[in-house]
Symmetry: C2
Subunit: 308 residues, 2 copies
Amino acid sequence: MTGPVSSDPQIPTPGEARLIDGKGFANRLTQDIAEDVRAFYARHQVTPGLAVVLVGNDPASEVYVRNKALQTHRAGMRSFMHMLPETTSQEELLALIARLNIDPEIHGILVQLPLPGDLDPVAVTNAIDPRKDVDGLGVVNAGRLALGLPGLVPCTPLGCLLLLKSYVGDLRGLNAMVVGASNLVGRPMAQLLLREGCTVTVAHIDTRDPQVLARQADILVVATGCSGLVNGAWIKPGATVIDVGISRVPVENGKTRLVGDVVFDEARHIAGQITPVPGGVGPMTIACLLRNTMQAARELVEGVGDTV
Amino acid sequence: MTGPVSSDPQIPTPGEARLIDGKGFANRLTQDIAEDVRAFYARHQVTPGLAVVLVGNDPASEVYVRNKALQTHRAGMRSFMHMLPETTSQEELLALIARLNIDPEIHGILVQLPLPGDLDPVAVTNAIDPRKDVDGLGVVNAGRLALGLPGLVPCTPLGCLLLLKSYVGDLRGLNAMVVGASNLVGRPMAQLLLREGCTVTVAHIDTRDPQVLARQADILVVATGCSGLVNGAWIKPGATVIDVGISRVPVENGKTRLVGDVVFDEARHIAGQITPVPGGVGPMTIACLLRNTMQAARELVEGVGDTV
């Protein structure tokens, strides 16, 4: 769907990693999708539509949801926001999803997590029609990914994979390590890397001596949420490092700044290529949400899927 | 469902691995299931029923299917065999599965693979009601496994896991390597080991220097179908080795014998514990099919699942 990154593919200066420009890549991807949206409208007189459901008033979730709506609109898609009170019952939420499932104007449905109170995220996620599950978090899409079948893939690992394929090229035969085994990032990331022919190791909270294993990895994807967990001792010289973590930490003068799970100032002297935080993986997530919505619209309207 | 293996847990002689007695374990598991079947009948007046569908006349498949029927009967379950001609159409096969899906006497459905001709194994497998998918090969059960939800797990990796839990105990924090990335064994095996808290590496045909990675593994599961692929140089001293492979190879005098993917005579001097071939993993597969059928019957009749 998008071409390779156009930034200068020069060999990095020894001792200084090439920066992986996720922000620029995401901007180009969004532009490509906007073109796809126009062409799709010209063919079918249908504009892809994304419904985002937010329950409750979590301020961080409100920011995410608003940003998703803005980017959706920017790509020329229709954005439908459903903001429900914290008192919403499971039945009410499931009834809304049932309506969105059969609404022909809606091609993607996203329920912002976490859900407040007693709402069951597994039941809610799996109530979404798998063809509209643009977060790729339901059982059917997870199963399709696990079995190597086409489907909708979770947005953050998909964004990481697009960056890797653009900056590394063919991944076949490379050693990859994924640090963190969440359903949102680590596990689907491992599946995607396996699909590309990597030898994949998944490390997590129970892993002993993770840095010994990490130092064998040509590709290191870190998604733990522990800021500064991965220092220079984890990194194989020349490796490509994808830092999914993003945490706000205090610095001097009472100020704060955003940092990743990787100690960037150590890693950039050892890695061959590395994502900065912010501006690396972050912008890719929403761009991949739009990509998934475009894919879902194609599948629903044309009956053809689109794999990574 | 079954207790730990009762074979003598003695420390192995240095230089000689303890044999993992899959045959004995499978026999005890089948006896336990037979007791569960009797207790289930006493509670519900329902006998678990397994339908096995065989299309065509592949001699190996006929042996497998007959053996499955015999073992099912031995465990006190009802066995239903559907042997269809090679000329069976996709529509006829799907129509049979649809009937079995709604048949209250059937709790498990297994379609013997490979299917002949143009029959689509993915479409056929996914036509089985996920609650009756006792091979665990459908998208829904693969997704449930990938997401850490309860479900029906493919029989061979489940059998390997039961042996590992019995012979190793708590697997948390151990380094595990799975050699082979098939949907039938390698991939679900990796998911199961991850669920137990192992650090999991999946190696396959594209892996470079697999023996270097393998020598770091406390648990080595080999499922490639390449007889003799894994020699002593792959094995960490004291590791537990599970050999899923089974191939018939020629020996002198025009005779043949069954061997695994592991060079047993080298491995047994390095490994701490190892499955023989035959008599290791093989007998566990059918026992786990019966276990899954019992689990499916419970889920269908009582509405409660049973996880590993």
